[in-house]
């Protein structure tokens, strides 16, 4: 049997009391902070997961932000292209009207007037601006892409009738598709979202084999000229050209629509991911309030019991019972 000496009782009692108090303090801090651990070393496995989840959450909110921005640009592009479409329809109607044989020269001049208003409208659409961005600015969205100088239309300084030299590079948004670059440092298509809709592609550049301008603004210019001079000999080919341009724009519209719906799909998925990650974070990092308080109370009882016991343990010795 072990001898239990007075010093042993004192030391052990004090050290136990101290560790009780330490536990009590620890549990109080946890309950107050609402955390299941206060330092990563208390639960490295959980902390490791928690750091990962936190990064996920911050990425998700970043992607949500990027997807939101991309989606709002897509909406603006869609609006602009729809407007473009309806303007073309109106142009087409007016041209059809003006072609009919019973229109006088004056009437045709009026049509030319109407068409030149539409032409200006086209120019406005081409320089459509949402917030601080020109949606058809291509890779340079901060400056107006088109400008008109003495009747010649320029796209970022290049005459739209020239066949080459247009900057049709992309602007990529990272929306969580796993951004990758090629060995040469170029971004791999499909790993980021391209929000660039170069006006050169939408409105057309260069001339076709028949010498007709691919650009709708310039084509309408030709039509206006035809009506002004009352020379409708080439109008048929103009109208055909307008139709093919309109078709091209419809394709663009579908393209934008697809992109928009992809973005809204992503928005939903990201919201789901965010919910899951937040839930996970709560599970890992947060402590159940009821559990925290029960733990604290249990420990408090243990501490009080230890205090009460010390009173009994340390007070008496054989001397108290000697005569």
């Amino acid at each position: 049997m072990m001898r239990i000496t007075n010093k042993m009782i004192n030391t052990n009692y004090l050290s136990n009391l101290n560790s009780n108090l330490d536990n009590l303090n620890n549990l109080r801090q946890k309950a107050a902070a609402g955390r299941s651990y206060l330092k990563a070393s208390e639960n490295p496995a959980a902390a490791l997961k928690a750091y990962q989840v936190r990064q996920n959450l911050s990425r998700i909110s970043l992607y949500q932000n990027n997807v939101g921005e991309a989606a709002s640009i897509m909406t603006e592009v869609e609006t602009a292209v729809l407007e473009l479409n309806s303007t073309i329809t109106s142009i087409s109607e007016n041209v059809t009207r003006g072609r009919s044989g019973n229109y006088s020269e004056q009437d045709r001049a009026n049509i030319a007037e109407v068409l030149s208003n539409f032409q200006l409208e086209l120019f406005d659409i081409a320089n459509y601006r949402s917030a601080d961005k020109y949606v058809f600015g291509g890779s340079k969205m901060l400056e107006p892409p088109f400008n008109l100088e003495s009747g010649v239309l320029y796209y970022h300084g290049i005459d739209v009738n020239s066949n080459t030299g247009f900057d049709e590079s992309s602007i990529y948004y990272d929306i969580g598709l796993g951004l990758k670059t090629t060995a040469s440092g170029q971004i791999k298509e499909g790993t980021a979202f391209n929000i660039s809709f170069p006006g050169s592609e939408v409105f057309g550049t260069g001339t076709d084999t028949n010498g007709l301008p691919n650009n709708i603004f310039n084509l309408v210019g030709k039509m206006i000229e035809a009506f002004n001079t009352n020379d409708l000999s080439n109008l048929d080919s103009y109208v055909d050209k307008l139709e093919s341009i309109a078709e091209n724009i419809t394709v663009k519209l579908v393209d934008v629509g697809q992109k928009s719906s992809f973005l809204s799909f992503l928005t939903e998925r990201l919201a789901g991911n965010e919910f899951n990650a937040t839930k996970k974070q709560t599970e890992i990092e947060c402590i159940d309030a009821a559990e925290a308080i029960v733990n604290f109370n249990t420990q408090e009882t243990a501490y009080l019991a230890a205090l009460a016991m010390g009173n009994k343990l340390l007070q008496y010795s054989l001397l108290d019972y000697m005569k």
Partner: protein, 475 residues
Amino acid sequence: MGSSFTGLRIAQSALAASQICLDVTGQNIANVNTKDYTRQSAELNAVNYNNSVSKFAQPPATNKGQGVTVAQIAQIRDKLLDVKVRNCHSNYNTTSVILSGLSDIENVFDETDNSGLNAILGDFYSQLQQLSNNAGNTGYASMTRSAAQKVCQVFNQYASQLSQIRDEQMASLEIAVEDINTVISKLNEVNTQIKDQSVRGSISNELLDDRNSYLDTLSKYMNITVTAQNDGTVKVSSTGNADVLDSTFSISQSGDQVVIQRTDTGGTLADFLPDEGTVAGCLHILNGAGTSAAAGESSFTGLLYYNRALDNFAAAFAGTFNKINTLDPAAPANLFTGTTANNISISEQWYADANYIVVADTGTNDNVIKMINAMEDEVDETIYPGITGNFEGFAKTLMDTIAIDTGYYKDINDMNKAILTSAANQRESIMGVLVDEETVNLISYQKAYQAAARLMTVMDETLDVLINRMGVVGR
């Protein structure tokens, strides 16, 4: 036939012995709370009949004892338990110093309820994204710049916190070494006194207590082996058979490593690396280079590891972004200057002009995308050794490593503490004073004293009969 006065002699020896026993009990009670006091007990021996005159004679059958004598005042102490307690002391102090060092480092890296390197890198990443979405906008460029500045500041802050921890560890190592030298000189002094007393015949128990107390203190600083010598002194040796009492210890620096040196009385200098104890713990924390350890360096994951990792990290971070920002290798356009965590900062050019960061190479925002990509991609270990994963990943790795190590040492330290407590209790159980026991002794020695006094009276009365009343018949 014994002498007539034998009884008186026996009674007198009993009185004297009880007196001594009472005094020893008094000493024990007086020292019930004295630190490192060892319980004493008077060893009583019965005195036997020994008559050298009757060497060749047949001893009488009525041969009886001659009373009691106090052989020695012994210390009740178990040497094996001393060894055990001192080993436990060394082990516990190793882990407790390591734990406190690691906890300090953990406080630097831990981001459980505050934001540090990982969060700031995440911020920088978000700002790059914003810049990429708003290419050409100076406002976003300058926000990116301030995020980068914060990253640099966090590197600087971590580096300065680590160097502060290093200073603290060095200070505690210096104090330990100073203390060791003091304890050694005290031990040598006690050894000399004990040797003197030993020559004169008896060694005082209190002096032995002193020596044990010093040895206990020394065992906190290093692992020791105590060997008793014939002249009553002890020899203390540590790792590598180093004769501790023959040495003076000092601290010196060799490259990145802190070294403890030992000078013996002959003046010879040698490196000293104890296996356990405060000194070993401090050296682990200070010198531990972890995975970056070169030959001859400690592979413990300590301060040196984190220092180097942070420096590599800062260099890789600065290098990677400088490289992307430089379109023409002939004309470097550096975003960051500095190659260590301590001196990394954003370059003067960038500081002067937020748009110094190259957003576009061939496209609109393709260069920023490359930077974003560089945050996502694994760092090329062939260019920047020691960095695993991407930047944020590596920051996490550092946090994980320190958290896991700290957690591990917390457990080990708790275990060592429990073992130490149990060993110390075992020792205390043998050498400690128990008041109840001393009270019982007090009563029994008092009774013995009273009985011896009564014996004296009985002898007195017996002799009175013999001398005064014998042969007086009919007088």
